[in-house]
């Protein structure tokens, strides 16, 4: 009986019925069964994803908060900042030094890395290839302090080469000798630091591009070979076009590492003012500047260094965004 009265009650109230129906409609569709394992897994991945964002935001916030003093000083009294001409005059040479050393490192390392990757994937005898790959990966495991020590030893041996460069190519500003017509007699210049950097970023570019080259569809390689391509032509026709976006992202990762590398550069480079020449002493990178000055820094100086760190953070962010854009643009559809 109560059920029938309910129906008669809802019967006269016919007008709101169509409205309520769509609302109750979705609720009545049976809920998809979710297994506990799936739920746990999706929660775990969600936490991981949120955590990385939080950590990154934390770093950015820390850098911003600590930069407050510098920003205030920049506004109220620019001359109180190291160098005496405000923050931008102070950070500008560091940014340039960082970009130049990273660019040289990338320029030297990328062709080498591609060559090694192609050799191990397509040229090397089958027994040698894995050994070579293993050795390259080992390079990545060497601590940067060791690279620094090695770089200092290397620097001494490079002076003769730098002298030669300045003698014959001194008309190019980057190889110009100093006012006395000589080059750094320790060899601890930005060029040495860049060369050591290039070896440090070699493993990451090599192993990433090697993975990419290994993924070239066999069918594509055979298509080229069956047309009568030589090994090199096959690489040019199918391996490189296929790996283009991978190469771009690998070099960008290498660039990221070169931008942020601290210890080796701090050990090798005898810092100084910004100079165009790479074979005389001078120049400095951001990471190295922070590492070398941090132990004695306090107050405003400390804040300055952290602000410099913030600048590096922004540069790295921009590099990564550029890398994403390049990868998106160059990726090859289909196989």
């Amino acid at each position: 009986m109560p059920t029938s009265t309910q129906t008669t009650v809802s019967g006269p109230a016919g007008a709101p019925d169509p409205d309520s129906r769509p609302a109750s409609g979705p609720a009545q569709t049976p809920k998809a069964v979710v297994r506990p394992g799936d739920r746990i897994f999706s929660a775990a991945t969600l936490i991981a994803g949120i955590l990385i964002l939080l950590i990154l935001a934390g770093v950015a916030l820390f850098l911003l908060a600590q930069s407050k003093d510098t920003i205030n000083a920049q506004i109220s009294d620019p001359s109180s900042i190291t160098g005496g001409h405000g923050f931008f005059a102070y950070v500008w040479p560091l940014v340039v030094g960082t970009l130049i050393s990273s660019a040289i490192a990338l320029l030297v390392a990328t062709p080498f890395a591609l060559g090694i990757a192609l050799f191990t994937t397509h040229m090397a005898p089958r027994k040698l290839a894995p050994v070579l790959g293993y050795v390259i990966d080992l390079l990545a495991a060497i601590p940067s302090v060791v690279y620094g020590l090695w770089g200092i030893a290397l620097a001494g041996n490079l002076t003769a080469f730098y002298l030669w460069l300045s003698k014959w190519f001194g008309w190019i500003p980057i190889f110009a000798p100093d006012a006395d017509g000589s080059v750094s007699n320790t060899g601890r210049t930005l060029l040495t630091a860049s060369l050591v950097l290039s070896i440090m970023i070699l493993p990451i570019i090599t192993s990433l591009t090697r993975e990419i080259f290994l993924q070239t569809p066999r069918l594509q390689e055979e298509a080229a070979l069956a047309l009568g391509a030589t090994r090199w032509e096959m690489i040019r026709m199918s391996v490189l076009p296929f790996g283009k976006s991978g190469i771009a992202s690998a070099t960008m990762l290498g660039l990221g590492r070169a931008l942020g590398e601290t210890m080796a550069v701090a050990m090798i480079l005898s810092p100084g003012l910004l100079t165009a020449s790479l074979v005389v002493s001078g120049n400095q990178t951001i990471a190295s500047e922070i590492a070398q000055n941090f132990p004695e820094a306090a107050g405003l100086r400390l804040s300055e260094l952290i602000t410099v760190g913030l600048v590096l953070f922004v540069i790295t962010l921009l590099v990564n965004m550029a890398a994403r854009a390049i990868v998106a643009k160059t990726s090859v559809k289909g196989s």
């Binding site: 089958r126 569809p217 069918l219 594509q220 055979e222 298509a223 080229a224 070979l225 069956a226 047309l227 009568g228 391509a229 030589t230 032509e233 026709m237 199918s238 076009p241 296929f242 283009k244 090859v332 559809k333 289909g334 196989s335």
Partner: protein
């Protein structure tokens, strides 16, 4: 433009494993020869020795002779690259170069031969090859678009155009229709019929009706069991293979009875 192939005592190996044993065969110029047989019997392997693509696989090797108009392609001092420029190949799955346009795909092989071509020559060759592959009318308005945008059957015909653009002596086809629908298959089969006027065509197929439709001669390969080498069982006119085979094994296979 078309060469005779003589296969003599051909043994094919993957490492130490003998995959194919003692093949003897003579393939006439301007004919279509079909290779049929169960999976793993070595028919694709034999096909791939005809343009020295077999040895691309690490550890693979060949003994015996394959003569193209009397010249052993496995002779000393023969560059496999030159062999492959004379023997075109079409694969099971269409594999146009994804970064190249339709036109570039057609010209890919010709460009490899370091031939310098004027623009008009290139255009002319593109049209000739695409017409030869029955694809011209479908793609003539989008020659500069990527080849990967075509349908599966069109992509396969693009690959055929790419192979015939270099004007090979021999055209090898490794199950060219196995990934295609019946209509595209028909288009390719018609094309094979046209191609045999100019080329020696060798086709591997799993489809016996297809072998019966397109080929002049048929070779039946079989394998005695796993781990045993594949053998050429019977090689004869297609009509007699399908209507009146000499060997019982062949008859069992084409009638669907095994063992």
């Amino acid at each position: 433009m078309s060469k005779q192939i003589d296969i003599k005592d051909l043994d094919i190996f993957y490492g130490d494993f003998r995959a194919v044993d003692g093949v003897q065969m003579q393939i006439k110029p301007r004919s279509v020869t079909a290779f049929i047989g169960p999976s793993g019997c070595g028919k694709s392997t034999v096909l791939r020795t005809l343009n020295r693509m077999h040895e691309v696989i690490p550890g693979a090797s060949v003994s015996g002779e394959i003569l193209m108009d009397g010249n052993n392609i496995y002779g000393p001092g023969v560059d496999p690259v030159n062999v492959r420029r004379e023997v075109g190949m079409v694969f099971q799955r269409a594999n146009p170069f994804p970064t190249m346009s339709i036109k570039e795909n057609v010209l890919a092989g010709v460009r490899l031969n370091n031939k310098r071509m004027s623009r008009s020559e290139a255009d002319e060759l593109t049209e000739r090859a695409l017409r030869g592959a029955n694809l011209w009318n479908e793609v003539k308005d989008r020659l500069n678009l990527p080849g990967s945008g075509l349908s599966g059957g069109q992509q396969q015909r693009l690959c055929i155009a790419r192979a015939i653009a270099v004007e090979p002596e021999v055209l090898l086809m490794d199950e060219p229709c196995s990934a295609l629908d019946p209509i595209s298959t028909l288009a390719i089969e018609d094309l094979i019929n046209d191609l045999k006027d100019k080329y020696t065509v060798v086709i591997v197929t799993h489809n016996m009706q297809q072998a019966a439709r397109v080929s002049d001669k048929t070779a039946f390969f079989n394998i005695a069991g796993t781990g045993k080498p594949g053998k050429l069982i019977e090689f004869n006119e297609t009509s007699s293979i399908f209507s009146n085979p000499e060997k019982e094994e062949t008859e069992n296979y084409i009638s669907g009875r095994f063992g």
